[in-house]
Subunit: 222 residues, 2 copies
């Protein structure tokens, strides 16, 4: 069975890929260039795809900078030590997961893939609306009503296996499956290719996850 | 009030733009390059945007050829004289309107636009699942659950003013609003910049629409 796996190069999507493979899926990995501040993330995605083995890895160019308005795509500073602040953070990228899922959906239909796996998480997520179960359910309905494969077969099905797990549970599951987390990258604002900032939301959630899991954190912080 | 208007350069979207302007919207037009067989469509979109006046016109590059699998994006012949055939036609592009709406959504959020207007039509549509009211309703739910503006204000709202109109009714409405249909382009397989094929689904529906409306068809057919 063919599955599209959204692969950012982070800890979560590396775990999702391992889960999909452990369930016998033929995995087609999909990453996006979207005006990331650093190409570090895409290099991590390529490392993870290579290490785990995928049928193909498509890097899709998407110019979200056109739309500005996020610390991850525009010239706005990434907040530090701000996990737990109220509301939706400035690192929110307008409609990001909607756009990613829409492209993944076109890719799935063209390749005959019956599943789209992605690593959204609603527990340790830092306030993004497009990481919640009701968003995933709504997008599934878009697939069923708006596509050939959806209207004819109810597919592709969205699989979000991490959505109710804590970061620590995700890491423990990945370690069981042999995921090499030293290949992954989470930092929103890396100092250089080898050093994570250690203070953005993503670094803080990652650090806490390794602590919670009781697993050594391979990340090199600045 | 700012509105994003999806502008393909065809008859329907030109009418939608005129409707949005007639209701006092400040219109931001959005077109896509998506491996169209011909650039004719984009030139028509630019003409329509100019003639009607928009606050800006963004042409967003989107490489749907990566996904193949449609007569509009891959090297497959466009069917002729096939309107009314059973099922979803080969000109169906996987997830096209889902992808267009997803990008429009990011654009709307970044610009603070509270509406997204598009010219989908479920009467004379030629079998595309992503032109039906239940698809539009499902995508509205994606906006409400998955975006900052949707979860906070229930916006942007999708406006599909043509969805229940016949092609003839659309044309009559457009003529009342002063739309110059000679600027628009509908053909899936134009012979050259000035000549529509006259036999693809899109040409046939357009011809019938002008006949139904009792309006002179300005299109030059080969």
């Amino acid at each position: 069975m063919k599955a599209i796996v959204l692969l950012s190069g982070g800890l979560d999507s590396a775990t999702v890929l391992a889960l999909a493979k452990s369930q016998g899926r033929e995995c087609l990995a999909l990453s996006f260039t979207y005006g990331q501040r650093h190409e570090v993330e895409l290099r991590a995605a390529a490392r993870v795809a290579n290490a785990q083995g995928v049928a193909e890895h498509v890097v899709y160019p998407l110019d979200l900078r056109l739309f500005g308005a996020s610390a991850l795509t525009a010239d706005i500073d990434v907040p530090k030590d701000a996990v737990g602040a109220e509301g939706i953070p400035i690192t929110y990228v307008p409609a990001r997961n909607t756009i990613f899922l829409a492209i993944a959906l076109g890719y799935a239909e063209a390749r005959g893939a019956t599943e789209i796996w992605l690593g959204v998480n609603a527990v340790d997520y830092s306030g993004y609306p497009d990481c919640r179960p009701d968003f995933i359910a709504a997008f599934q309905q878009v697939i069923i009503t708006g596509t050939r494969s959806g209207s004819e077969h109810g597919e592709p099905r969205i699989v979000a296996p991490l959505i109710e797990l804590t970061k620590g549970e995700i890491i423990r599951r990945g370690v069981e499956l042999g995921v090499d987390y030293s290949l992954t990258h989470s930092c929103y604002d890396p100092v250089d290719a080898g050093h994570a900032c250690g203070h953005c939301d993503s670094c803080i959630l990652r650090r806490r996850g390794f602590e919670e899991a009781g697993v050594n954190d391979p990340t090199v912080y600045a």
